[in-house]
Amino acid sequence: MAGNTEPLSPRAKLAVTAGKAAAAVSRAAGRGSGSVIGGKVALRLDPDLLARLARHLDVVLVSATNGKTTTTRLIAEALRASGPVVSNALGANMPAGITSALAGGSDARFGVIEVDEKYLAGVARDVTPKAIALLNLSRDQLDRAAETRMLAEHWREGLAGSKALIIANCDDPLIVWAASSSANVVWVAAGQEWKDDAWSCPSCGGVMQRPGDDWFCGECGFRRPTPSWALSGDHVLDPHGSAWPIRLQLPGRANKANATTSAAVAAAFGVPPQVALERMYSVQAVAGRYDVVSFLQRDLRLLLAKNPAGWLETFSLIDPPPTPVILSVNARGADGTDTSWLWDVDYTRLAGHPIFVIGDRKLDLAVRLEVAGLDFRVCDTVDEAVQSAPPGRIEVIANYTAFQDLRRRVGN
């Protein structure tokens, strides 16, 4: 499959060149990396470009509500053991951004592509991937996104005829529902702390029973498949029963889960788990996430959490009290403009931490924390919050645009 066997048509070449030119203009104008505008221009000139750019690659798609950018990065690092990789590493995960990323990788053997949940079925049709990694599905931006269960249904229909190997999390019933229409599935027990979007059976609507790590529908028999890969504490268990230690610089259970799925993907391309996991150690921060920066003589660890499932995983990785915590929430277009989801997050988990609240929607957070019975302080800026915080490294948890604001201010 590898190698540039089918050169791009003149029209496709022109589209790639025009896209690169548009990206350069966008960069010069200070509008970010330019990858999305470049991809849009290229796709308008040649709508089949994405399919053509992918033709010479072994493509892996990665989709989920949470962890897709990090997992894309981990898989890319692992596959580099076998050959050059092109990837949309910065998280531009809609068709235009994907096109732009692939256009930069004419010498690559592998394409490791993060895909927005809504576009997965379409992109999977266009690029005929070798493998698709499905991590989790949960509520996110409900004021503008499709219902979570409908998304699982949409995936299920879209992936039904796919020849790709599906590498899917058997601990998320919605993922199992989405993946089990496919002929070729590798189940990974990657865990899923958040359970509140899958109490109702995706198949028959019955009430799910969830004893321990298991789950099943009491009515129709839809149940957790037996995994061939598993995350077990700090180890990946492979299908032969061998346990491989996970050593990551990235913190938290969720990233161990991402590493486990990534190891299963890498194995599908012939990269053994120990090689894959060793390579993943080099990943230190992903698009600024998990980065520790120095700001106003203090160390800040920057953590992104966009939805209830993400906040839950983030609470489990922060340093224990009395580590100070800064929370920042916005509700701009890219975040979803409804803040109701804050009430699905169990903030009592922050008891004992000094808490500082910033962001466009700090008052929504203030009411949320007041009702949770927590002590907190509302600040106007991150500077004020950092200067008010007691000693020690500060954990900063922010949602999407709040995270971008933060990175701009603290300069990482």
Partner: protein, 242 residues
Amino acid sequence: MSDNSLRLVWIYPDLLSTYGDQGNALVVERRARQRGLDVQRLDVRSDQQIPTSGDIYLIGGGEDRPQRLAAERLRRDGGLNRAVSNGAIVFSVCAGYQILGHEFINDLGEREQGLGLLDVVSTRGEGERCVGDVLADIDPQLNLPPLTGFENHQGVTHLGQTARPFARVRFGKGNGVGDGYEGAYNDTVFGTYMHGPVMARNPHIADLLIKLALDVNALPPADDRWYEALRQERIAAATQPA
């Protein structure tokens, strides 16, 4: 309501807890405790029986199929209707609001029978989905300050003869019929399209439910500083063009 304990029932979190509406249960519980009440909160899953001895019942919003399943199970259970005939108070949001009416349109596009606790009928709106901040004036009989909330629904709700509009919209869509109404109530059964969650932005509604349960006219004051600050901000946001 017996002695000093308030029984708060949160109905079907497995089906109708998608839009943060469990915040309503948290706010009612918090404000009741701040007034010295002993609160027993009971979360009832849809494979469990609805107790008939609750003082306040809360139902939230959910996706289309879970809404149908919830309606089927609540009709079969019958407990909520019995509780209301015993004088219980019910507060419902969005999908839950539609279920309390006579009928609504389900995920299969069919008319689904509700519980008939509210004299309303819901249909599917033809226009764009109603999404955004809302500001409305609550029925003067209830003596509450203006209603602020976030709406996110396709459904349209028509009030029957006996239902009173819960509020009259100043900014936003509300019931979506074009009559300017938002929500509805029949005696002690309330329905609204407002998320936010609505009690976080309107703690006086939580207090109203507690007063109805206690059968008192007033409650000791609570610290409303953060609620008030949030209300002012959201009311200003609703009145500004998007």
